[in-house]
């Protein structure tokens, strides 16, 4: 086993990553508002807001609409194997980020 080198922490880089994440989460919220009849404004949605049940109360048809919207907006697929992706806004953002990362 080789020694693990911890890369020096670059605050500017961390800030940039945080900003990218913020922008992605905001885009997901805006997509929810634009494409689904959620009846709320994007700024009223929490990052960890549940998509189902208490939270945004999406139904199964809304879920399909969201999956179609994510595909169109980000080019990222969500399938039945990605159940975790649909738990909350932030889980969906994680899934999209991972999908975009794979594309690069």
């Amino acid at each position: 086993m080789s020694a693990v080198m911890t890369p020096p922490i670059d605050p500017a880089h961390i800030r940039e990553l945080a900003a990218q994440r913020r922008a992605l989460v905001d885009r997901v919220k805006q997509l929810l508002v634009d494409r689904l009849d959620t009846g709320v404004e994007a700024t009223m949605i929490a990052d960890d807001e549940s998509l189902f049940g208490r939270g945004l109360e999406l139904d199964s048809i809304d879920t399909l609409e969201l999956v179609v919207a994510v595909q169109e907006e980000f080019g990222v697929e969500v399938t039945d194997d990605d159940v975790e992706a649909l738990l909350s806004v932030s889980h969906l953002a994680d899934h999209i980020a991972a999908g975009l990362q794979r594309e690069r």
Partner: protein
């Protein structure tokens, strides 16, 4: 109970379907089996079908008294039946249980041309995303090459009828 898997219905190895075949893959019956023929099918993905509009259609008794116009909702239903055909192999588990697929959503439809007796509707349905047994379809209907209706529908398969 037998553990031997039933062979899929032989229709599911075909790429075209006649009206008699449609009764095997769809639960609809005349006068509500609107689709006449499927001229091309890629199961779970895409299909092209034909709906011939005749003056004998029951809807023309009232739609309308002054002029015959084939109802837009029946064009949507014809497209939904074609989408149902596309999903039928999966919805019926290869033909080992009765088909149970329902129209779950209709979105962004535009009707851009009148359809009248004598017109031949060329229908197309292409499957997109699918989640929780609900599949999104982009659909269109043409008469003589011109689009008369287009939009999106969702088809939901239910566990009802599973054994």
């Amino acid at each position: 109970m037998s553990t031997v898997a039933m062979a899929p219905h032989p229709l599911y190895s075909r790429t075209t379907l006649e009206a008699d075949d449609l009764r095997e893959v769809l639960p609809h019956r005349p006068p509500f089996l609107l689709l006449d023929r499927v001229t091309q099918v890629e199961w779970d993905s895409h299909a092209v079908g034909v709906k011939n509009v005749g003056i004998g259609e029951p809807c023309f008794a009232g739609h309308f008294p002054h002029t015959y116009v084939y109802p837009g909702v029946l064009i949507v239903e014809s497209l939904a039946q074609l989408a149902g055909v596309v999903r039928s192999r999966t919805a019926t588990a290869g033909g080992t249980r009765p088909p149970r697929a329902y129209l779950a959503a209709v979105r962004g439809f535009k009707f851009t041309g009148m359809v009248r007796p004598g017109d031949r509707l060329l229908l197309e349905a292409r499957a997109g995303s699918s989640v929780n047994g609900i599949t999104d379809f982009t659909v269109s209907a043409r008469v003589d090459g011109a689009v008369v209706a287009a939009g999106r529908i969702a088809i939901a398969e239910t566990a009802e009828g599973e054994s």
